[in-house]
């Protein structure tokens, strides 16, 4: 079948300027501010002195009409750049793409909403910005309002809406677009679970109607259930292109093991972080079973290991870990202070390893980091280390309930529930009730 999208050698280069020192402060700070988001990318590429960066490189692919394609990859891998090029927001530096249909892009929900305008006015404005004709908006107006469930607030300025209402209205407009090609960035990461489900349901409709969708998400459950095909981008290049299932699983294995990001080692005591009392030797995260490169899911038990040299004879030490979520909330604090073997005991000079067992079914999905504190005499902090090791807790690829996306909560424990029938009522149960 003829492709509806054909990309040949598509590339996008950003210049990030030279680092000459001769700027005055205002100017330099401006340049720095603009460069900051790109620096991580640059560091990863290892090209410290280069002046340009290829956010997207040699992208070649074709999309058949009606295909729903998931685009996956780490932050900064070029996913959004690809979407921006395809939706004509930014021009490619090299190559070309041919689009045999109208494109609508949804890189952000509620683009162009004006806080001073009412819900009704914003439906028209947002619709027009997304490329709908006025007649089209008029004819779909009632459906949009119905989908948003905001009939009562239509004549209220959206600045008075709650963020949930705002999202509902915005998505209601966006989901009524009828382009041949729909380009969607991670817009579903916001909103509550129920709303996400509704939006994904709506997108499912879109897919069954033969529309072509390119869809960026970090949500592997959504990717696997919505997309037949997936593109894995890394450092601006397409690493793998194929059926969604296999691509997702090789992405999960290839991306989040790699030891390096999960471990910090300082072999030399002289240069290791620490002070005259203690030096760190190693901190690392490791799944309890399987290889260290296996991905961590919400169900995987893992260990946090801290190795350190005690340099002072008979010091009474213990290790404490503060574990942070990606929102910089401390998910929990745990310490080795109650360990029977060493609690309150003087420790000889030497190399120690403290291992903390973190059970499965504890942490929620997302990126985490931790801080290691070495404590003396149970109270005073001898040394603290902000570990660079970050690790990602992934969602289970196969889940038994049909919610997508993050469930709210710092942690996601598996807790026991039990329900009893306390007394049957007289009326005949409805069939629906029984089914649920």
């Amino acid at each position: 079948m003829k492709p509806i999208v054909r990309a040949e050698n598509l590339g996008k280069r950003y210049s990030i300027g030279t680092r000459d020192a001769a700027y005055d402060t205002l100017r330099e700070s401006l340049v720095e501010a603009m460069r900051a988001p790109l620096r991580r990318l640059r560091g990863r590429n290892g090209k410290q002195n280069s002046e340009t960066i290829w956010a997207l490189k040699n992208a070649n692919f074709e999309v058949k009409p009606g295909e729903v394609i998931g685009i996956i990859g780490r932050n900064g891998a070029g996913k959004s750049t690809l979407l921006k090029v395809l939706s004509r927001i930014t021009e490619p530096t090299t190559g070309r793409a041919e689009l045999y249909g109208r494109v609508a892009s949804l890189l952000e929900v509620g683009t162009g909403f004006h806080p001073e305008l009412t819900g009704r006015e914003n439906i028209y404005l947002n619709g027009a910005i997304l490329g709908m004709k006025k007649t089209e908006i008029v004819s779909k107006f009632d459906q949009i309002v119905e989908f948003s469930e905001l009939e009562k607030f239509l004549d209220t300025p959206v600045k008075r809406y709650s963020s949930g209402m705002y999202m509902r209205l915005a998505f209601a407009v966006a989901s009524h677009l009828e382009p041949e090609i729909l380009v969607i960035d991670e817009v579903l990461a916001v909103g509550d679970a129920q709303f996400q489900k509704k939006c994904l349901g709506k997108m499912g409709d879109v897919a069954t109607e033969g529309r072509t969708v390119l869809f960026v998400s970090h949500n592997m459950v959504a990717i696997q259930s919505l997309c037949q095909r997936a593109l894995w981008l890394d450092h601006g290049e397409i690493i793998e292109d194929g059926a969604a299932g296999p691509v997702v699983s090789s992405y999960l294995h290839g991306s989040f093991g790699g030891g390096a990001s999960l471990e910090e080692v300082w072999p030399e005591a002289e240069t290791a972080p620490g002070n005259e009392s203690i030096r760190l030797r190693r901190v690392r995260i490791k799944p309890v079973n399987g290889s260290p490169t296996d991905p961590l899911t919400t169900k995987t038990p893992f260990t946090i290991e801290v190795e350190y040299w005690n340099l002072r004879p008979d010091a009474k030490l213990h290790v404490t870990i503060h574990l942070y979520t990606e929102h910089e909330i401390v998910a929990f604090t745990t310490g080795s202070g109650h360990e029977l073997k060493w609690a309150g005991q003087p420790m000889p000079v030497g190399l120690y390893r403290s291992v903390c067992q973190v059970p499965g079914d504890l942490l929620n999905v997302g990126r985490h980091r931790f801080k290691v504190l070495v404590i003396k005499d149970g109270t005073s902090v001898l040394y603290q280390h902000e570990s660079n090791a970050t690790f990602e807790i992934l969602d289970l690829v196969e889940r038994d309930i049909s919610t997508y996306g993050h469930e709210p909560g710092v942690v996601k424990p598996a807790l026991n529930w039990s329900t009893e029938l306390l007394g049957a009522t007289d009326s005949d149960p409805q069939p629906e009730d029984r089914a649920s």
Partner: protein
């Protein structure tokens, strides 16, 4: 429980698609096989204007309307006096000018009562000044749109200029009231009024596009703009007629495209003799500005999303 996600997904979606079948009443035009032979859009590093750009501009004409409507609607939201501000601005400026220049300094006014004379000049000037100020800052103010959705970027400064036309229309009503009060007769020359308004709009559009594009790259424009507008007003015959200057220096004023335009407003409104030469110079300069601005805009447009 224990069903795979895919099955579960299907079970949650199918009923939904039945209830929302109205959403897409006629997906026939989407049928996968009927793809056009030539691509609708080809994305590549482009060099200059192409036919598709003009076609896009036409295709997005409704967005121009909506953005203009938004600007007008939003401008006076949460103000007590609302749209009256469109009138207050030129009216009070006129009163102050009448007092200082008309009464105290006795600036001549081509045999038209000074208040009407000054108001007509201010009508043109206020429109022009607000239009270039608003459109000059429009792209930077629409960064959220530019980085998130495609449409021809010229629509943004265009809408800012068009929104000014609404204020102009309101201020024009007051002018009519003033002309009736001072018994200034309307003549057939009024037919030229739309022409000079169009000329002002085009000049404002050209200046606005150029300034807004520069503003994306150099935020200095934001600070230079009010200053530029102020200086420009004093070299335009807003509060004085061109006849105020000695005849041998008048041609200098004509190098300012606003000179011919403002004189044109007065000639059209008060039935004065048109200075066709000045008007022709203004038209020529306007076209040059417009051409240069759209060329510059088009050249800089591709990097807007990356640097705004």
């Amino acid at each position: 429980m224990g069903i795979s996600t895919t099955d579960d997904y299907a079970s949650t979606v199918k009923p939904a698609s039945q209830t929302t079948e109205l959403a897409h009443p006629n997906p026939a035009h989407l049928s996968a096989v009927n793809l056009p032979d030539a691509p609708l859009v080809t994305i590549e590093a482009s060099k200059a204007w192409s036919a598709s750009e003009l076609h896009d501009l036409w295709a997005f004409r409704e967005l121009l309307y909506f953005l203009t409507w938004r600007d007008v609607k939003v401008r006076y939201k949460q103000t007590e006096l609302g749209i009256a501000w469109a009138i207050i601005q030129p009216l009070f400026t006129m009163l102050v000018f009448t007092l200082f220049f008309g009464r105290l300094a006795r600036v001549p006014s081509d045999n038209v009562p000074y208040p009407v004379f000054a108001y007509a000049g201010l009508l043109a000037w206020t429109f022009f000044a607000n239009a270039i100020t608003n459109s000059g800052n429009s792209l930077v103010g629409s960064a959220n749109l530019i980085t998130k959705v495609y449409f021809p970027r010229m629509i943004i400064p265009g809408a800012a200029v068009a929104a000014g036309l609404v204020d102009l229309a309101l201020a024009f009503v007051i002018l009519i009231v003033l002309m009736i009060y001072y018994q200034v007769m309307i003549t057939w020359s009024i037919l030229m009024f739309p022409v000079v308004v169009l000329l002002t709009t085009l000049l404002a559009l050209g200046m606005g596009m150029w300034l807004s594009a520069l503003n994306v790259k150099y935020r200095d424009v934001r600070f230079a703009l009010p200053f530029l507008v102020q200086l420009w007003m004093f070299v335009s015959p807003v509060i004085y007629p061109t006849s105020f200057l000695p005849a041998k220096w008048r041609w200098l004023l004509w190098l300012n495209p606003m000179t011919g335009i403002i004189e044109g407003y007065r000639s059209a409104l008060f039935g004065l003799r048109f200075n066709w030469l000045a008007l022709a110079v203004s038209t020529g300069l306007t076209l040059v500005v417009l051409g240069y601005a759209s060329y510059t805009f088009r050249r800089m447009e591709k990097s807007f999303a990356d640097i705004v």
